[in-house]
């Protein structure tokens, strides 16, 4: 009977029993999914891995096995380990960039603080030159502003 077989049993050319361990995760409409997994791991290894897991974890396991098989077929030398290496490198590069930007922000922050302080020194001198509320000049902080208006 051909109809109703999962992709695994079709690939293996066998009857698909009602309690087939593969059928929930390798549906007939996706034959390549099982083909990849079978090529890399073999049906019996996949079956053993799935059977060793509780039923509620098998879907995730089947998906991750498929993804690793896919990666290995695409890159027979490194498989998904190549991807791990690339991700590590990306993380390292991003961390270096972040450190550089933060250092630059730190430098700018220091520079702007010192400029603000200089500006405030000039401002502080200005108002104190002006008379206080009673109109009495504040002679203790007299500052010659004439140079500002040259």
């Amino acid at each position: 009977m051909n109809s109703g077989r999962c992709a695994a049993c079709k690939h293996l050319r066998r009857r698909c029993p009602s309690d087939c361990v593969f059928s929930p995760y390798f549906p007939a409409n996706n034959p390549r999914r099982f083909a990849y997994v079978h090529k890399i791991y073999g049906a019996s290894n996949v079956g053993k891995i799935l059977l060793d897991l509780p039923v509620n974890r098998r879907a995730e396991a089947a998906d991750s096995l498929y993804y690793e098989a896919y990666c290995r077929i695409k890159d027979p030398v490194y498989g998904c380990v190549g991807l791990i290496t690339i991700l590590h490198q990306q993380i390292h590069n991003a961390q270096c960039q972040l450190a550089r930007i933060q250092a630059e922000i730190g430098a700018l922050s220091t520079q702007s603080q010192s400029e603000v302080q200089q500006f405030q020194q000039v401002e502080n001198v200005g108002p104190s030159f002006l008379p206080d509320q009673n109109g009495v000049p504040n002679s203790t902080s007299f500052y010659d502003l004439s140079t500002w208006f040259d």
């Binding site: 897991l53 396991a61 991750s64 700018l108």
Partner: protein
């Protein structure tokens, strides 16, 4: 690499398989007898005959790296039978995403600082605007993703797509009935 098939003890593979380790044994250079667990893991997950086929499809100079990556994957799968290496990939991708956001925020701060500096300078000559460092923007991959309902954006890698954590099948997007993309 070590070869143990001639006079010395058999390689770890032949010991495990209880067979004679012949000269030219394909496993001997990569599975020394001092590392029995390496072959045990590889055999458990991939099987000896699948490994033989994989190695035979590669050039000799590629085989050591291939065996080491297979051993790595096998060990990851033994430690984590559900996710294997994919768990590590998912974790690293989240780190990359997090760092990308931090970089974007830091770049925005840098630009804001530069603008504030110019405004605050007033009559002072504006400082030279710092160059905002280009963040490591990951370009979505052009390659098709594996079938299985994994949607979402991908980070570009030289040879295969990366699965973002938010689109892993064990989240809401899971669909084992996803169509085949025919990319391979």
């Amino acid at each position: 690499m070590s070869s143990s098939s001639s006079y010395n003890s058999p390689c770890a593979a032949c010991k495990f398989l209880r067979r004679k380790c012949i000269p030219g044994c394909i496993f001997a250079p990569y599975f020394p007898p001092e590392e029995p667990q390496k072959f045990a893991n590889v055999h458990k997950i991939f099987g000896a005959s699948n490994v033989t086929k994989l190695l035979n499809e590669l050039l000799p100079h590629q085989r050591e790296d291939a065996v080491n990556s297979l051993a790595y994957e096998a060990e990851a799968r033994v430690r984590d039978p559900v996710y294997g290496c994919v768990g590590a990939i998912s974790f690293l991708q989240r780190q990359v995403e997090r760092l990308q956001k931090e970089l974007d925020a830091a770049n925005a701060d840098l630009i804001r600082f530069a603008c504030n500096d110019i405004q605050a300078a007033g009559q002072l000559p504006p400082p030279a605007a710092p160059q905002a460092v280009a963040s490591t923007h990951m370009v979505p991959a052009q390659q098709p993703r594996p079938a299985g309902g994994w949607g979402g954006r991908f980070y570009q890698t030289p040879s295969f797509p990366v699965i973002p954590y938010s689109s892993m099948p064990w989240n809401d997007n899971y669909n084992p009935h996803g169509g085949v993309d025919g990319s391979i």
